[in-house]
Structure formats: structure tokens, C-alpha cells
Symmetry: C2
Subunit: 290 residues, 2 copies
């Protein structure tokens, strides 16, 4: 994977990005995956799982803000949030920025990711690990949603790898059925659905699956620098209608009350509202509107 | 630049994208630059100028649609359009899709780019080369705008390389002064301003320069898969106010009249309107609003 001082991402067989490595910080084979963290001059520190870029210090704000603030502010009254994956703690930090959140449960399967993120990427989570509202569990997200009681959460955020390898089970019927069950009325779930220009199947297949368990299924987009290939999509499935069409003025008012307004580098109320307008080349992979 | 069957883009010193090459089609040193065209399994045919990706068959629609339809429909009554650069003919084709356009003048400095695009990328321009409304000149865009009469065009589209090498003169005071002069009252100019996550200086410096010659300066974004690094920005400078805030409903009506509605894969009226809402990490590089 390393040639001289370059690391090539190995996500696709015939196209990829590469980083000049100034220093390798960790290279660990956990019980679940290969974890590599290195320093780059272009993006700061970078974490790869099984050869695929998961997070960089330089651009993590795009993905984390859009994966967190959009569902919480679209819902408008989330107090209990479940995070699956996201071992770097970046989503947890963003969730806890919301004043209304009383409880955030994070379930990450790979304790090594958490340990290495705390050691080498401490700014990503900041003080979130120590927030009294946070519960961080090392365990299987599938088991967790199976055992959680009905109506337990207002929002579920799935920050997984692509639906290959260990992330695959987070895109199954069994997972979505339990997710729907443990969400309170009006609740919603978001999860990353890859970059449609390169991975259209991922959006199409997982959206069709979400549509079996949720009445309102859609997607929104974010331009994440290191999830290369144009827009990535974030899958959106809700128990109530209209969460994907909340006007920017309403979102702004909610963000102000939540303490989010002005605290972001990518997300804004207008970008929130605009992100649900999909380019035709992406929209055609979604199920017909209910 | 070639290792085995891979080509690495050489735009940045410490980060880049790479393509697996299935067949090299052309490798030419013109009077101005190195031109390479190859076939890839991921993106179809790809053209590089001086080692930098200019266009791929797979994703050209994103850039071409946003660079063309946004200024023409924001203006709403363009009949005479000047295109500088864009030797592949893709912008010319999109400009001529607009029913109201009576004349499109294209000035490309490097005749070899046009020749090779016609031979190896014929679908990009399609029949545009033969449209009676088109005038294709091989020449220097700087000289052209110097010699063109006042008020000659309604819109100018600059599809140049980055402001390094031969593209640099298209970002100078002299160029913008003449551009403002040859635009009719109410006219506007757009040009690509790079990917701010990687090249923020480009947006900042060229926007400040445009602001010396145009009263209304801004930018809009597009997520172009192979202009990697998140959103790219398209600089926007107008002689009349408000062209960056035309409501989507108005844009839709204009697009319908122009024959554009339903003919795009990325551009839509909502995406058009939304593209002017910039993430804070990009907005901070623009001059203060006039």
C-alpha cells in the first residue's frame, strides 16, 4: 500500500486518491480491521480502516456537521440520540453541542478505533468523551438495537464504513427493522450511503431496504473533500413526513435555540435546506416518493 | 507520471488522484502545454493538460452544466455569449442548447486541444462545432477581449486552467477590465476558481480582482467528481445586482422557455438557487458583500 512516502487509498480498483505521508503514527490489526493513522502535510492526520479513508483532521467538519446537525435540526426536538460507529468521537461531539440533547449513546464495535483516536486524533472528539450526557459502549450495534426497548431514541446516526466488511450488517433488514422499532414516533435515522458517482448501487440498494421499514425515505448530499467523487449521500429515513423539507427559516430558529448557529464551517440553515435537492444523476437511484 | 498502468494527477505536491489507464490515446506537446488523453475504466476518456485533469467523459456534465446554465439563466436574456478556453467544446454545446442564444463565440488558444477533442472526445461537443450560431476561433482570449467592441456580449464564460501556466493571464486586471467593457449593461462573467479546500488563495485573490471591475461579485459551488477536494467554486461577477439570488421558480420558468428543463443530469432550478449558499469555510474567502 505504501510506495516511497505515499499511501494510496484502495477503495476502488481503478481509481483512487493518494496522500504524501510525513509520518506514520499507528498501524494496528484489530480484531475487526486494519487501522492506519498517519500525518499528511495536505490534510493533517488521516485514519484509514482496511485501506479506506475514514477521517482527516482537515475536512472532518464537513461530514460530521452534515451527519449530525441535519437530522437533529430536521427533527427539532431530539433529546435522546443513538450513534452507531463513529469511533473517532466526532459525531458524539457534534451531537452534544445541541443544548436540547440529554443523552447520547454511542456504540462502536472496535475499541481499538476509540483508543487510537483518543491517542492520535484527540481534537476530533475534544471533551465529548467526558460529557456526563454521553455513554460510550464498545459493542456490536446490531446487538444493541436488537436489545434496546421500543421508542428508546429520537434519532439514530449510523457512521459506518461502506456496506462491505464489518459495516455490512448495518445495512440489513434486521438492522432497519430494529432501528424503526426503537425510534420514538416521529424519529429518524441517517446513515452514510457512499458517493453515488462511484457507488450508485450503495444508495439504491440501501434506500430500497430503508423503504421497507420507514414510511418516509430520502437522502441529502454533502461535498466531503476526502470522500472523493463529487457529492456523497446521507440516507434519511423518518417515521414522520416532511422532515426533509423543513424551511431554512425554521432550521435557523432551531439552530439558534440549540446553540449551533455560527458554530459550523460547512453546515448552515440554507445548506441544510438545499442539501435535500438532489441532482438528477443521484435522485434516480432513490425509490419513488411516497 | 506513469507507473505501470496508472496515471497520477500532479496538481498538488502532496495529495492527488490516480486513474488506471486502459489505453493511452494521445500524448502531444503543443505550443502551449502537454496534452494527454487516455481511456480509463472508471471515468471513460480523460484529458490532462500539463498533468492536471481537465475533463472526463464520466463527469463532464457536472462542470459544463453549472458553468453554462447558471450564468445564462441567472441573466435570463442572453443572446450573445463569449466562451474563452473550453477547447473540448462542452461549454459551447451547453450554450447552444439555450433557444435564446443567437451567437456563441469561442476563443481557445490551443488548436491542438480542439483537434484532439474532436478526434478522441467527439461526444463532448456533439454537433456544436457545426451549429451556424457558433464561431470557433483559435487565438488568445486576452487579445480577443482587448479588441472586441464595447457592449458586445451578454455573458462571458471562462473555462480556463488554474491561474498558473497559460491560464494565468485570464485572471489579471487587464483581462477583467476588458471583460467589463465588452459586456453589455446587465452582463456577467463566470470563471472557475478552483477547489477552495485545496486552493483557497485562488478564490480569494481572483474574487478581489473581479471586485475592482464589477459592482456585484460572488461565487457559487458545484461538486465535480474529478475536481477533487469537495466543492469547486465558480466565480461570478455581474454589472447588475441580484443575479445571484434569482428564485428557483423564476429560474425554472426561464429554463423551460430556454429548452433546458429536464435536459440535465446535475443542474436543476433548486440546485441553481442553492449553489449560491456557500459553506462558511468558502464564504470567508470572498470580498465583503457590496
Amino acid at each position: 500500500m505504501t510506495t516511497d512516502s505515499w499511501i494510496n487509498e484502495t477503495l476502488y480498483p481503478d481509481w483512487g486518491q493518494r496522500f504524501r505521508v510525513t509520518r506514520e503514527l499507528a498501524r494496528v490489526r484489530s480484531a475487526f480491521q486494519d487501522i492506519v493513522i498517519f500525518e499528511s502535510s495536505s490534510h493533517g492526520r488521516v485514519m484509514l480502516l482496511d485501506g479506506v479513508v475514514q477521517i482527516t483532521e482537515g475536512d472532518e467538519f464537513v461530514y460530521q456537521e452534515m451527519l449530525t446537525h441535519v437530522p437533529l435540526l430536521a427533527h427539532g426536538a431530539c433529546t435522546r440520540v443513538l450513534i452507531i460507529g463513529a469511533g473517532d468521537g466526532g459525531v458524539l461531539r457534534r451531537v452534544l453541542q445541541h443544548r436540547g440533547v440529554r443523552e447520547a449513546v454511542m456504540v462502536e464495535i472496535d475499541g481499538e478505533v476509540i483508543r487510537l483516536a483518543k491517542e492520535f486524533l484527540p481534537a476530533i472528539a475534544g471533551e465529548a468523551w467526558h460529557d456526563p450526557r454521553a455513554t460510550v459502549l464498545v459493542g456490536d450495534g446490531i446487538d444493541y438495537v436488537k436489545q434496546a426497548p421500543d421508542d428508546r431514541f429520537d434519532a439514530i446516526i449510523v457512521d459506518s464504513t461502506d456496506p462491505i466488511g464489518i459495516g455490512e450488517v448495518l445495512f440489513t433488514d434486521a438492522f432497519y427493522a430494529n432501528a424503526a422499532r426503537i425510534l420514538a414516533p416521529g424519529g429518524l435515522i441517517v446513515n452514510q450511503c457512499g458517493v453515488p458517482f462511484m457507488q450508485a448501487d450503495e444508495l439504491r440498494e440501501t434506500s430500497a431496504r430503508r423503504a421497507r421499514f420507514f414510511p418516509h425515505v430520502g437522502a441529502y448530499v454533502a461535498a466531503v473533500p476526502t470522500y472523493v467523487g463529487g457529492f456523497m449521500t446521507l440516507g434519511f429515513a423518518a417515521k414522520q413526513a416532511g422532515l426533509d423539507a423543513v424551511p431554512a427559516t425554521t432550521i435557523r430558529a432551531r439552530a439558534e435555540a440549540a446553540g449551533i448557529l455560527g458554530a459550523t464551517q460547512y453546515w448552515t440553515p440554507d445548506i441544510h435546506a438545499g442539501a435535500f435537492h438532489l441532482p438528477p444523476y443521484i435522485a434516480r437511484h432513490l425509490p419513488p416518493r411516497s
